[in-house]
């Protein structure tokens, strides 16, 4: 399979057909669920939190947020077709049609935590409509930092294309004020290796980036 973010921007790639395919593939559902559970595991949240899901797609992760711990969540996605599938599936979270590269549209201290599965690598894309990945990364992390309560946590599973993408993402997060770093699962396995960006808003005494 070619990497989707190289062939087209997400709102084009996740057309109606792709969205339905993505959501109905049990293999993808399984991987998505296990990555969401892993992210929740790292976040170690108390129950009843207010959570933002970046790139919520059809709400596969959101359903887990509702079930595990009674969280209330808001999901953002740039693909109307993905959100339409989420509506059909009657998910409990609020859905926003929005581009994370333009910043998250929430006031200071809105969320207890942020989760994102397989989405933030899209920020590094430079396609015609949204030219500057550096600006997009900065807007995203700066606005995310503001929208979290102090001490709020972030877990983003992502697929970096190469080391320089990982670097740019880490740098943008650090410039925004986050502390934290990468957790890499199955580091030895080419196929199953998974990257998680784990951040805390504010200087809680965790390992520096």
């Amino acid at each position: 399979m070619s990497r989707p973010e190289i062939s087209a921007p997400p709102e084009v790639f996740y057309s109606d057909i792709e969205s339905k395919k993505y959501t109905s593939s049990s293999r993808i559902q399984h991987i998505q669920a296990s990555m969401t559970l892993r992210a929740l595991d790292v976040l170690a949240l108390p129950p009843h939190q207010h959570i933002l899901d970046i790139g919520c797609g059809s709400g596969l992760s959101g359903e887990i947020l509702s079930q595990e711990g009674g969280h209330v969540w808001v999901g953002m996605d740039i693909s109307p077709s993905m959100l339409a599938v989420a509506l059909d599936r009657d998910v409990e979270g609020d859905l926003f049609l929005a581009d994370m590269g333009n910043g998250v549209p929430f006031r200071a201290g809105t969320f207890d935590a942020v989760i994102s599965i397989s989405a933030i690598q899209w920020l590094c894309n430079a396609d015609s409509s949204n030219a500057d990945p550096r600006k997009r990364l900065a807007r995203f992390f700066d606005s995310l930092y503001a929208a979290l309560k102090r001490g709020g946590k972030v877990a983003c599973q992502f697929y970096p294309r190469d080391e320089s993408q990982t670097e740019s993402i880490l740098n943008a997060a650090k410039s925004a004020g986050f502390s934290g770093g990468l957790v890499i699962d199955d580091e030895e396995s080419k196929k199953n290796k998974k990257y998680y960006l784990i951040l805390t808003a504010g200087n809680v005494n965790s390992n520096d980036i």
């Binding site: 009674g70 409990e92 049609l97 549209p105 201290g109």
Partner: protein
């Protein structure tokens, strides 16, 4: 979109920056081709969540939103709830739950008081995609 979320969402247009007027977004001007529509949708009652989120609610903004949506019954000051499981708090918590989590804005428009940008809500989904020249 839940009323809860309306109490957190703000304008992201470039010109608004950190203007205090970019929050809350206003429901006072609606267009005839997208009439305001509200609906009640059941959500499991969680007094713990209400107590978690209540300190973060901007009460004056909530009063504004509720009034623009046709509800003038809210107390003028934010209620204080120390013990979510005390029986005397249950009705209040249920009322807040109904307002914040079960009242859905199905469609309509939200207006930024600073830059005038209109955000449309269709099928309960607000559209925050911005044309390039409005992006920060």
């Amino acid at each position: 979109m839940k009323i809860l979320t309306a109490n957190f969402v703000q304008c992201t247009v470039k010109a608004c920056g950190s203007s205090p007027d970019c929050f809350p977004l206003h429901f006072d001007q609606q267009t005839p081709d997208l009439p305001l529509e509200l609906a009640h949708e059941d959500v499991d009652f969680s007094p713990e969540f209400i107590c978690n989120v209540l300190p973060r609610i901007e009460w004056p903004a909530l009063l504004t939103t509720a009034r623009e949506l046709g509800n003038t019954q809210l107390p003028p000051a934010k209620p204080e709830i120390e013990n979510p499981s005390a029986p005397e708090n249950e009705q209040l918590l249920r009322d807040l739950h109904t307002l914040l989590l079960e009242t859905q804005i199905i469609q309509g428009s939200m207006r930024c008081a600073n830059c005038g940008h209109i955000y449309f809500i269709r099928d309960s989904i607000p559209n925050f995609l911005l044309p390039g020249h409005l992006v920060q």
